[in-house]
């Protein structure tokens, strides 16, 4: 495909893409998709969170995994940046720490594809006794 340089090009690209679009953009049914939040505050950015986000977007697309990758703030795990929160459909969110590109690749291959936990999970004590 040719490069997009102007808004007119973008419109053309849009028309071209619409034909190929999968259901996700049409239905916007994000609950059925993998949702990833990349912590993008000073601590995350300084540790390379942007590269991780770039990598996740590119690789999930290349590997045909329907996912929404977005930015979020600091979750308080500055020591373990870059951190990402992965929510598989109908599951509780899981936070991973020290996510470099290698770790991100492992998370895609093992956790996202096979639902197999990988090292580096930061335990979240979400569920209090009252909640249970």
């Amino acid at each position: 495909m040719t490069k997009v340089k102007s808004l007119a090009d973008l419109k053309l690209m849009r028309a071209e893409m619409e034909a190929k679009l999968s259901l996700r953009e049409k239905s916007n049914n994000s609950e059925k998709m993998v949702q990833i939040k990349v912590a993008m505050a000073t601590c995350g950015i300084a540790s390379g969170a942007k590269d991780v986000m770039d990598f996740l977007i590119d690789e999930l697309d290349k590997r045909n995994i329907e996912a929404v990758v977005s930015q979020t703030g600091c979750m308080g795990y500055c020591y373990a940046e870059p951190t990402i929160e992965v929510t598989l459909p109908n599951q509780d969110p899981v936070v991973f720490g020290y996510v470099n590109l290698k770790k991100a690749d492992e998370i895609i291959e093992k956790y996202i594809k096979n639902n197999e936990l990988v090292d580096g999970v930061i335990p979240m004590n979400y569920e209090t006794i009252e909640k249970k």
């Binding site: 490069k3 973008l10 505050a41 000073t42 601590c43 950015i45 300084a46 930015q71």
Partner: protein, 182 residues
């Protein structure tokens, strides 16, 4: 942080946190006066005078998840390292404006870095916010306005790997046209 675009990414999060709906980012390369200026302006909730006085203190943050707030102090330090200056002003209920000026030919002026990626990734994560990026050089100006992009995309989400890719290319190509300093 390695380059200016990462600082911009960082500062933009402050505006997003402040519930801004319009975010203007401006870079002016003024070779004549030897100044490189970054201005970020938002229409978020703003800050009180008291808080404004504290934002350049690295041990101040509005967050509750941690006790330090380095985003603004780090940018200020980068600007001042080159002999440039830093300015921030804010009004409660109206918004905040921040200006970092660098001495253009100073060796400590950070490279711009992946500004296209920063803009597109942030816009894609915050589709309800209008981002207007303006870059001026002596060769001309380029404006990236997410309202125009949204109109062209006609309902298609920005948060899509292919759209992100095209938009990044579009920004870089246009910046090359005005011979921006990398």
């Amino acid at each position: 942080m390695k380059d200016l675009s990462l600082h911009i990414l960082d500062i933009l999060q402050n505006s997003i946190e402040a519930k801004a709906t319009l975010l203007k980012i401006n870079i002016e390369e003024n070779t004549k006066d030897n100044v490189y200026t970054l201005t970020i302006e938002d229409n978020g909730k703003g800050m009180s005078k008291e808080m404004l006085n504290k934002v350049i203190d690295p041990f101040f943050t509005s967050r509750t998840t941690r006790k330090v707030g380095l985003g603004i102090p780090l940018l200020k330090q980068k600007a001042e390292l080159t002999g440039g200056s830093f300015y921030i002003d804010s009004e409660e209920g109206k918004g905040t404006i921040l200006k970092a000026s660098f001495i253009f030919n100073n060796i400590d002026r950070p490279a711009l870095g992946d500004i296209a990626g920063v803009l597109v990734l942030t816009a894609a994560s915050n589709e309800n916010i209008r981002f207007v990026y303006q870059h001026n050089t002596k060769e001309g100006e380029y404006i990236f306005d997410t309202d125009e992009i949204k109109e062209a995309l006609d309902g298609m989400s920005l948060n899509n790997a292919k759209v992100i890719h095209y938009l990044k290319d579009m920004i870089i190509e246009n910046l090359i046209d005005i011979q921006y300093t990398k």
